[in-house]
Amino acid sequence: MPVTLDSASATRFLDPDVVARLKSIDLKARLVVEGFLAGLHRSPYKGFSVEFAEHRAYMPGDELKRIDWRVYGRTDRFYVREYEEETNLRAYLLVDASGSMAQRSGAMTKLEYASCLAASLGYLLLHQKDSCGLVVFSDRVQTYVPPRSSAAHLNVVLKHLAALKPTGDTNLSATFHQLAERIRRRGLVIIISDLWDDAGQVVKALRHFRHRKHEVLCFHVTTPEEEKLDYRNPVVLKDLETGQELTIDPRVIGPEYRRSFAEHFASFEHGCREALVDYHHITTATPFDRALLAYLARRQRLR
């Protein structure tokens, strides 16, 4: 029997630290989405279905076109119409499972965060009757689950996500080019990766998706440590993919690295903007609703 959470309890599960304590990925996905939806009741991002479901009181931010003027005529109050989703959206969740995703920050690794986010998105997608597929990749495609919209398909997606292990190198551009060729039907491509590759090449590969008429939503997952490099003393950094070691003094190298990292970000941000790709930078400490909201915003534009 499904557990029903009140609004306050549900939103707790948007916090990665809280979610990390849960073992089952389907539970994670469900609680994240429920928490997200509970939060949505107070937000303007509600309702974009095509079949009427119910009325609710107008809230500032709701689109005026959604006001039901007939009800206004009868009751002299503003109500907006809410609709059940009617979908033909095919969404592809592309999850990076390369070795670099194994970096831990706080309670979660980047891969755990990515899989949790992917599960939540999948849950949300399937909950809205969209088709959801899953691609797990590193320097090559490891897993390809074609999109389905059946409720049972969620289990397939979650099962694969639960089994994710970080492995292999990163070769984003080649993988994206390969996938762009493989995914023929137009859809929404959601990429969750730490994007540790050459920005220019990656953006070029993203353009390939766009060329194939896909909408692309890119979540750039990082950790605070790799952004700031704020270790107190000299450390030996071990590359999670190549095993190579490098001794650095963060006090000396830190400022230069942070500047370089900011440029790396800027390259992605700028390249994605030019390629009309939704780019979102999130860290493993970012609450899940931010990513889900980004998805919803993109989803709304697809209507």
């Binding site: 670099s100 995703m101 194994a102 970096q103 831990r104 980047k110 990163t170 730490d194 540790w196 590759d197 950790t223 440590e225 790799e226 270790y231 003393n233 000299p234 450390v235 030996v236 950094l237 071990k238 590359d239 999670l240 993919e241 190549t242 190579q244 070691e245 490098l246 001794t247 650095i248 003094d249 000396v252 190298i253 230069e256 690295y257 370089s260 990292f261 790396h264």
Partner: protein, 621 residues
């Protein structure tokens, strides 16, 4: 290159500390998993080379700073060509090994300087190593290496006044061999010769006494007559006030001595009821240890056998003074000069000749024989003495008569043990109407008159005191003074004390008249030796010349025992130096510091400071 404190050289291994810390810190670095080194490697190309270089630079600078400091502790130096020595092939090296050379690091400096001079010679050069005490083993020119080896064993063991005769000998050897003469000395003023030898080229004096040394010494230790009181004289020879602790037989006194000050402290030690008393007065050790302790043997109280040779009743002034104190411990026997020849002088400890004019040459021979065999004599010299047949010490060059009516005592010489107990006061009103002019070079004045002629003098070798005036009213009013009896008894006590050889100085030869010619055991402060006695004037005599160490000496032979005290000369501790400028003005070439050496300590300290500053700059960049 050499090191003055080479014992500290192992400490330079500590210079590896920065390297060890560096390596350890690298081993202990935290390892962190990082997603990709992609960006870091690109940054590395720009920054890592500088970071790495900075790290290595800091490591080098720290190592240099530490190594420089540690090397500076070992006081390194480099040898260069010796100044003033030119292209000398042979070298006569006269090393002052007087006691003053043991002060501070003078000996070490002298040895280093000697090494410098010897090392500066050509390979085929030869060295004649001489010491002022004559302790150097070689008397021939040897190779520089052999000379250096011999030099290692040279230790301060001689009196300062030996420099003068040694210098003459060294100059002679250098002159004959055509060698350069180098004298290494601390320029102790009392040792400096009146004139330096004329050699071409001029001798080189190396000043090994540039280190300022403060010294306090026990300069006197005497038994005062009458009471069993010992007077200890302590002198501060230094230029700064000194606070010292003086200990005698468990009695401890704290002394505050001004610069150049002298203080006499009296002690009343418990003397043994039988046998001689051995007393030592000691200060805590300072930079010159040789004069920090002084030794005294208080002879067992016994009757002194005195023979008084007199020819007239007027001399009874002297006899009355001698018998004024019945407790004086005298066994007095008076004879006329004509009976002197029949006396067996071996029966007497002291012979007083109050009327020398009445003695015949044969009597003078017997008197001189008696003195040279170790007996004590007291001679009142007559002003109109005939020199024929007399020993040199008994001759005078006529009377000295004052134009102003009388002579008075100008310098009573109260530092002398003979007159120390009498002080100044008693001498003030003494008048002398006429005195004999002493002309023997072997007599040194003890009490001077206003015409600088001596009233009392003592022989430098024999146990003999000579008065330049007879104790008669026509020559002096001294017999009517209260001072006179005290002076007479003090004189006899002094002579008796000298007979028992309690006033020996380091380097003196111990001479003892023996009754047996059996082997003698001499116990010195450092060991025991068996010595065969010699024969002098038909009698067995111990002549022991190795009394170079201050302390108590004991002589044993067939049931007879002598206790002797050997001390340094009171002025040996006076380290006052001659002015090198005056020597240079006298045409003597004077070097100082480490001969031919450049001290690298200061440059190393500067290098350490520079490395430290550079390290700070690198850290700031």
């Amino acid at each position: 290159m050499g090191f003055a404190s080479s014992g500290l050289l192992p400490l330079t291994a500590l210079a590896l500390i920065p390297l060890v810390i560096h390596l350890l810190s690298r081993l202990r670095l935290k390892r962190v998993a990082f997603p990709s080194l992609l960006l870091l490697q690109s940054v590395r190309r720009e920054r890592f080379s500088w970071v790495r270089m900075k790290e290595i630079l800091l490591l080098i600078l720290r190592t240099i700073a530490l190594l420089s400091l540690l090397l500076a502790l070992a006081r390194p130096f480099v040898r260069a060509r010796l100044p003033g020595l030119g292209q000398a092939r042979d070298l006569v090296l006269l090393v002052d090994d007087s006691y003053s050379m043991s002060a501070g690091n003078r000996r070490q400096d002298a040895l280093e300087a000697a090494r410098g001079y010897v090392a500066g010679l050509a390979q085929s050069g030869r060295v004649l190593l001489m010491t002022t005490s004559g302790s150097a083993p070689d008397t021939q020119f040897v190779s520089p290496r052999a000379a250096l080896t011999a030099l290692q064993s040279a230790a301060p063991s001689g009196r300062a006044d030996l420099l003068n005769p040694a210098l003459g000998l060294a100059a002679e050897r250098a002159g004959k061999a055509g060698a350069r003469l180098v004298v290494i000395t601390d320029l102790q003023r009392r040792a400096m010769p009146d004139s330096w030898p004329r050699l071409s080229p001029a001798p080189v004096v190396h000043d090994a006494g540039t280190q300022q040394v403060e010294n306090v010494g026990v300069s006197g230790l005497t038994m005062l007559p009458g009471a069993a009181t010992v007077a200890v004289e302590v002198t501060n020879f230094g230029t700064r006030p000194a606070r010292r602790t003086l200990t005698l037989a468990g009695d401890v006194r704290v002394l505050e001595l001004p610069a150049g000050g002298r203080e006499v402290i009296e002690f009343a030690p418990q003397l043994p009821s039988a046998g001689p008393g051995l007393i030592s007065a000691g200060l805590g050790r300072d930079s010159l240890a040789i004069d920090d302790t002084r030794y005294l043997v208080v002879p067992e109280h016994g009757l002194a056998r005195v023979l008084l040779v007199e020819s007239s009743d007027t001399v009874s002034y002297l006899r009355r003074a001698l018998s004024a104190d019945s407790s004086a411990g005298l066994e007095l026997h008076a004879v006329s000069p004509s009976a002197f020849g029949r006396q067996n002088l071996e029966r007497y400890d002291i012979v007083i000749v109050a009327d020398p004019a009445a003695l015949k040459p044969a009597d003078w021979n017997r008197f001189d024989f008696f003195l040279r065999a170790g007996g004590a004599g007291w001679l009142f010299l007559d002003a109109g003495a005939r020199p024929e047949g007399r020993p040199a010490y008994a001759r005078s060059s006529g009377p000295a008569r004052p134009s102003s009516g009388f002579f008075s005592v100008r310098e009573p010489g109260v530092a002398h043990p003979l007159t120390a107990a009498l002080g100044h006061a008693g001498w003030k009103d003494v008048h002398v109407w006429q005195h004999a002019v002493l002309n023997s070079a072997d007599l040194r004045p003890v009490v001077l008159l206003s015409d600088n002629g001596p009233l009392v003098a003592e022989h430098t070798e024999l146990n003999l005191l000579v008065w330049s005036v007879e104790p008669l009213p026509e020559f002096t009013d001294l017999p009517f003074r209260a001072l006179f009896p005290a002076l007479v008894h003090q004189t006899l006590g002094y002579l008796a004390g000298r007979s028992s050889e309690t006033g020996l100085q380091c380097g003196d030869t111990i001479v003892l008249r023996l009754r047996s010619s059996a082997p003698v055991t001499v116990t010195t402060p450092t060991g025991r030796k068996v010595v065969e006695p010699g024969i002098r004037l038909g009698r067995p005599v111990l002549e022991y010349a190795d009394a170079g160490e201050p302390g108590f000496y004991r002589v044993d032979v067939e049931g007879e025992t002598w206790q002797l005290a050997v001390n340094t000369a009171p002025e040996e501790g006076n380290l006052t130096r001659a002015d090198p400028a005056l020597l240079r003005a006298a045409g003597v070439s004077v070097n100082s510091g480490r001969a031919g050496e450049s001290d690298l300590t200061a440059p190393l300290l500067w290098l350490a400071a520079l490395a430290f500053v550079l390290e700070m700059l690198v850290l700031l960049v």
